[in-house]
Every structure is written in C-alpha cells, then in structure tokens.
C-alpha cells in the first residue's frame, strides 16, 4: 500500500499550490454548506428553541426550559413507541440485511443466469414510493377481499389477521423488508464489485470453494458497507412514518397516534397543536438515533481491534 503516498506532491516545494487547492476545496464545499446550514442547522436550532416553550390554546406562550423533555421521558406513548421501534430494529434489520447480503453474494458469484433481470427484480420494490407500497400491501393484507385472506379461507385456514394489533408490527416489517432489500443489496453488491478479482483467483488456486471465498474474503471485505447499511437501517427504523401512517387508514384503531415516535411527533404538532412538545419529541428521537448509531459503530470497531 505504499503506492498512495507516492502520488501526493512533496511537502515543501508546492505550498502555494496547496493553498490554492485548499481555497478551491472550500469553494466546492460552499454550496453544500449553504444548503446544509439553511436546511438542517437552522431548522434544527429553531426546533431546539421551540422545544423550550409551551404554547397553550388558552394562555399563550411561556418559557418552560427542559419541561417538555422531562415530560417526554415520562410519556408512555413516546417510550412505548421507541420500544416498539427497538423491537422492529432487532428483528427486521438483521432479516433485511441478511437477505440483502445473500442476494448480493449470489449475484456476485457469477453462477446466476439472467443476472440483470434478477438484480432489477429485487431492486424494483425500492423504486416504488413508500406510500404506494403501503397502499398495495394494505390491499393484499385486507381481511375480506385481500388475496391472502381469500386463499386462507379457500384452503380452510381461516382469515389471517395481518392488520390486528398482534401482527401489525410484523406486517410493517414485511413491507419495509420488501421495499429495502434491493436498496441494501445494491450497496453491498457494488462494494463486492470493487474487490479486486485477483484475490479470488489466488484463493481458487489455493483450492478455496465459493462458500469459503464468500466467508473468508467477501464478507470481511464488506464490513464497511455492512456498517453503512446497518446505520442507515437504524436511522430508517426510528424514523418509520409512511407505512404506519398509510396503514392507519385501514386499521385506524390498531395504529394509534403514537405508534411510532415520528408519527407521534407529527400528530402532536398537527392534531393536538402541541408544536413545542412535538419539537422536544423530535429532538429526543434524534438523540436516541445518534446514541444507537454510535454504540453500533463503536461495537463494530471493537471487533476490528
């Protein structure tokens, strides 16, 4: 790996060029920074500011400091929502990433016919907007006229209750898994494609089987991509919104206003008109996501050492 260092220009002779490069660098970063500050930092700061107040329908606005946060920590609707998402994370994410990894490895093994077609078929659900896919699955899950229900009755198994309180979380897991396998698979697959093929040849010469190549070379090489997809999944899970929000129209009494923390923040702000409390919930949720992502990253780094 010495080749990369030789590519760099020698240190002392070209400091002028380096300064110019640095200036160009800042210039390139500027558009991003402007948008980043305007669309992320400012709104974040503003909602942080909002979360310190309390606006009652009668009585108006008053400064309450951290009261909203204290209230949120003792709010069973919020903590239940976070717990529900933790269950979701622990069950759904390993299944989804496991399948995505499996598909990526199979695609990469070179033993598959119609590779492009298969790749596209797995990826297509991701191209379907979340709202549409939730509507579609809502129809498939339907207890009276949904195809699963009709099949269930036809073979005498009765009507599967996909939309009941017991199974709703799993039904949503299924929708999310269906929608995001392709996305994760593409990330993992492209990471696989960047492994130099010479390594495989060397392994084959040494007599390694495809399975052995996968476990000893490919999966370890995929570690950064797996960490990335896992962190995306952690963030996506805690922010779950579209699927429960759409399914709420067909199972309104199963999916309450606080089914997921994100849904809760939305309903607080727009149904209960508690914008300040909603801001606090959103902030806490962001904090939870940060902590979980960080802990996850830390744990994977330990494995390296």
């Amino acid at each position: 790996m010495t080749s990369t260092t030789t590519l760099r220009p020698p240190r002392n002779s070209q400091s002028l060029l380096r300064r110019r490069e640095a200036r160009a660098g800042y210039l390139f970063v500027l558009p991003f920074m402007v948008v980043f500050i305007a669309m992320l930092v400012v709104p974040l700061a503003y909602s942080g500011y909002l979360s310190m107040f309390r606006n009652q329908l009668v009585g108006g606005v008053s400064f309450v400091g951290l009261d909203n946060y204290v209230r949120a920590l003792g709010d069973a609707t919020f903590t239940d929502g976070v717990a529900r998402m933790a269950v979701f994370l622990v069950i759904q994410v390993p299944i989804m990433l496991g399948l995505a990894l499996l598909f990526a490895l199979v695609l990469d093994s070179g033993r598959l016919r119609m590779k492009r077609f298969v790749r596209l078929s797995i990826f297509i659900p991701y191209a379907v907007p979340g709202v549409i896919s939730a509507l579609m699955w809502g129809y498939l899950y339907g207890p009276d006229f949904g195809p699963f229900a009709q099949m269930g009755r036809a073979i005498g198994l009765g009507t599967p209750q996909f939309l009941s309180a017991e199974f709703m979380l799993f039904s949503i897991m299924n929708i999310v898994t269906w929608g995001f396998i392709g996305y994760n698979m593409i990330i993992l697959y492209s990471a696989l494609r960047s492994i130099p093929t010479e390594i495989y040849e060397a392994a084959r010469v040494d007599g390694a089987s495809e399975v052995r190549i996968a476990t000893a070379i490919k999966i370890p090489a995929l570690r950064p991509a797996l960490v990335l997809t896992s962190i995306f999944s952690v963030i996506g899970t805690f922010q779950l919104f579209n699927e429960p929000n759409i399914l709420a129209t067909i199972a309104p009494n199963v999916i309450g206003s606080g089914y997921t923390p994100n849904l809760y923040a939305y309903n607080l702000a727009f149904v209960g008109q508690e914008v300040n409390y909603a801001a606090a919930i959103a902030f806490l949720l962001g904090f939870v996501i940060m902590v979980v992502s960080y802990v996850f990253q830390l744990s994977t780094r330990k494995g390296d050492a």
């Binding site: 009652q56 006229f145 067909i250 309104p252 009494n253 309450g256 149904v271």
Partner: protein, 457 residues
C-alpha cells in the same frame, strides 16, 4: 383565471403586518375578550360602503376542497368584475385545517375565505381567527335556514360562517337483501336490534349494518339524535365535556350490545376494504348523512336500483328525531384585508340562487337553505339508484327533524376525534368494553383541555 405573480407580492406583506397587529392585540389580553375586530357593537356597513368595496379592484384568496367550486367562483367574478378570487385546494379535511393553522401561525399566507366544517368553527374562533360576519352583511340571513343550521354558525352574538351544506342523518338500506332475509325496515332502535339478529341468522356472511371504530363524526351524530349534548364552548376559556350523561350511555350501551353479540360488523370506514364491502352487500344498511346517497351511488354503482332511503330508527316509538353528521360553511378569516368583499364571496356563492342551486345539482351538496329545501324541483327529483324514490324529499323531511337546540363543539375537535379512535373507537374495533372506552375518552379529553389551559365544566 390568470395567475398574477407580480401584483400578488404586496398582499402577503400587508396581510402579515395586519396579522401581527392582531396577534399583538389578542396576545396581550389575558381575559380573552372577543374584541378582535373593534368591539361587537359595530354598525352594519352602509350600502355605499358595500358598493365602494365591491367596485374597488381587490384580490381574495379562497380555500376549499369542494369539487368544481371554481364554477361558483367564476360566477362570482362575473358578478363583481373588480374582484379577483384566487381559488386554491390545499387538501381535504385535516390537511386543509393544518395548512390554515400553519398560515395563521406564520402570520402570512392565510386565505381570506375558507371552507370550515361546522364542528371546527369553534377551534378557529379560538384565538379570534374568524371574522364575525354580522356587520358586513346587509341582510339578515337567519330566516333562510332551519334553526338548527343557524345555531351551528352562530354563537356569542356573532355569525362565524355561511352554511354551505349539511348532513342530517338518515338510513340507506338494500331492499333486495332485506327482502331475502325477510326483514322489515326497523322504525325504532329496539326493532333495529331485533332486525340485526334476524338478519344475521338469515344471512350469516353479512351484517345489517357496520359500526366503524374510526368514525366519531357518525357516532356523534347518533349521540345528537339521542338528545345528548356532550360538548360546548363559551367562546373564551370554558369548555363543557359531558360524556357520562344518560343519553350518551344509552347509545354506547346499545351498540355495545350489538357489537358484543357480533350482530354488526366493526370495519373501519372510508377505505378500500369498506368500499368493496358496501358494494358487495356485506352491510345491508348504512346510517348516513344526507350526502350519503350520492356518495353511495359513486361507490356501489353496480347495486343501482336496490337501495332505498328512510329515516333513522327512533329511541321512542312515534318519535321523529335525527342528528347531523358533517357539512361545511364558508368562513372569513379575521386576518383578511377586505372583510366586505370576503364576506360577500362567502355569502354570494352560498346564498344567491344560481350558484347555490348549482351546488345541489352539479356538486350534489345537500342544501342548508330553506328556499332550496322547499323547492319543487329539488324535492320532486327521482333517483334511479334508489328505485325511483324521491330521496331529496326524504332527507329534506329529515332535515326538519334535527333538534333545534344548540349542539355544541369543543374548540379542539381534531384532537377529540383522534382521541376517540384510541379510546371508544378502539373498544368498538376490538369488540371490547365500550363503556370503559367512553370513560377513557372523556378522561383523555378533560386532561387535554386542562393541559391546554381551559376550564372544564
């Protein structure tokens, strides 16, 4: 209508300034006096003032989700060439109100005139966001509506919206299924319960009716019929939440009995599953508002000719009482710069004969005004979908049986309805203890009201 991006720019600035001024006024007064518009004793505008306002070039913004309401707007612009109305559909129901609240809070971008359902007028009056139309009207409209409709738009000596349509509750049923099951149309709720059981015996795959756990509007309409008056708002800081009255309990316990015995289905309504069920005869009847007949025609087109309309079953034999579910008004926001023109828009499209008749004939809104409710053309119309029945006449008669005493609302009905879904509604959906669900609903509403600074009675 042509978009005019350049002339538009000044309006929001002015609007936001005046809105700021308004916020400054109302924010300061702790005792919630209603003097947002300079005191209630304002004299009505003179004919000259009206003429001047209507002949001055003016731009109005109008938010509504009524389909094709642009037709009425065009007619208005033709009648008043100087007034330019920008009509916007920002979404239906909850979405529309969210946009309104956001614009009001932001202090700019709010419409001059907006569609507001009866049950939400109170929540926009809170914070003095609605304009009392009384001083801007040159005629007294009170005689033009059934008393109960008028009582829905008036409070505290103010008129807060012009009625656009209403939804007195009736009963739509499948004549063929009733016949097949050998059932008479029930006239009392006792008969209805018996019919539900008989129907279930005869037709084990379907139900006499469906009681959704997600439709507080319908349920509250049934409470209205039973004489319950669960909500009220004094326009300031006091709300009434009375969900443990004998009338409320009577309705809840009645449905509890039917639901617990699996005599009615409990599917959530207004989703695909339910549309199909309606069209497929899973429910043999639907206790629905006056807008229901046309809605059903669109949803269950294949069952044309098989339906009929009647009054709701009654709690006492010989009674004839109904309730209301839904309907809208056009209200003027207090932030408007052109109160006279805005009020005239709200009045003109809903009161003048031509646009109002079009609402009935083309947009199929159920008319609130007596002149149409009593007109021969309206009453005599025969509906093929309902086997040639004069459905309008049936519902016009029902409209007269809605009790005239004030049925009030809370200034936070969207919260109240959302809370219903998680308490009483959940109990319905789970076929669980509805009385406990009712208690949970009441407790939650009281808690919310108190946390928002209201005094609860």
């Amino acid at each position: 209508m042509k978009p005019q991006p350049f002339r538009r720019t000044a309006a929001p600035v002015v609007a936001s300034l005046s809105a700021l001024a308004l916020v400054a006024c109302t924010g300061g007064s702790e005792d919630g006096s209603d003097s947002g518009n300079g005191g209630g004793e304002t004299d009505a505008i003179t004919a000259e003032e009206f003429e001047e306002a209507m002949s001055t070039p003016t731009e109005l913004t109008f938010w509504s989700w009524v389909p094709d309401i642009q037709n009425q707007v065009d007619m208005f612009e033709e009648a008043y060439p100087e007034i330019d109305v920008e009509y916007v559909n920002v979404g239906q129901g909850a979405e529309h109100y969210q946009q309104m609240r956001t614009a009001i809070q932001a202090g700019s971008g709010a419409p001059d005139v907006a569609q507001v359902e009866y049950q939400h007028l109170a929540s926009f009056r809170l914070g003095d966001n609605l304009l009392d139309l009384t001083p801007y009207l040159q005629e007294d409209l009170s005689g033009q509506y059934p008393d109960w409709v008028w009582s829905q738009v008036t409070a505290d000596d103010g008129l807060w919206g012009i009625p656009q349509d209403t939804g007195p509750l009736g009963n739509l049923y499948r004549t063929d299924l009733f016949e097949e099951a050998g059932i008479e149309v029930p006239t009392t709720w006792d008969e209805f319960a018996q019919a539900a059981a008989d129907y279930r015996d005869a037709m084990p795959d379907s139900y006499l009716t469906n009681m959704p756990g997600n439709d507080p509007g319908q349920f509250v309409g049934l409470l209205w019929q039973a004489g319950a008056r669960p909500f009220a708002y004094d326009g300031a800081e006091t709300v009434t939440i009375d969900l443990d009255s004998p009338e409320v309990l009577q309705v809840v316990e009645y449905w509890q009995g039917l639901i617990a015995d699996d005599l009615v289905s409990v599917d959530p309504d207004f989703n695909d599953q339910w549309y199909q069920a309606l069209a497929n005869g899973k429910y043999a009847s639907w206790q629905v508002a006056a807008w229901g007949p046309v809605f059903l025609q669109g949803t269950a087109g294949d069952t044309s000719g098989l339906w009929a309309a009647s009054t709701l079953p009654q709690w006492e034999e010989g009674q004839n009482v109904s309730g209301n579910w839904g309907g809208s008004t056009d209200a003027v926001l207090s932030s408007t710069d052109n109160p006279i023109a805005a009020t005239e828009l709200a009045r003109w499209i809903n009161v003048e004969e031509e646009p109002a008749t079009r609402f009935v004939q083309e947009q199929f809104l159920f008319p609130p005004s007596l002149s149409i409710l009593e007109s021969e053309d309206f009453l005599a119309e025969e509906s093929e979908f309902y086997g040639g029945q004069q459905v309008n006449a049936t519902f016009a008669e029902i409209s007269e049986t809605v009790p005239t005493d004030d049925f009030g609302w809370l200034p936070f009905m969207d919260y109240a309805y959302s809370s219903y879904n998680e308490t009483l509604g959940s109990a319905i959906a789970d076929r669980a203890d509805m009385v406990a669900g009712l208690e949970a609903w009441e407790a939650d509403l009281i808690e919310y009201a108190e946390s928002q600074g209201f005094t609860v009675q």
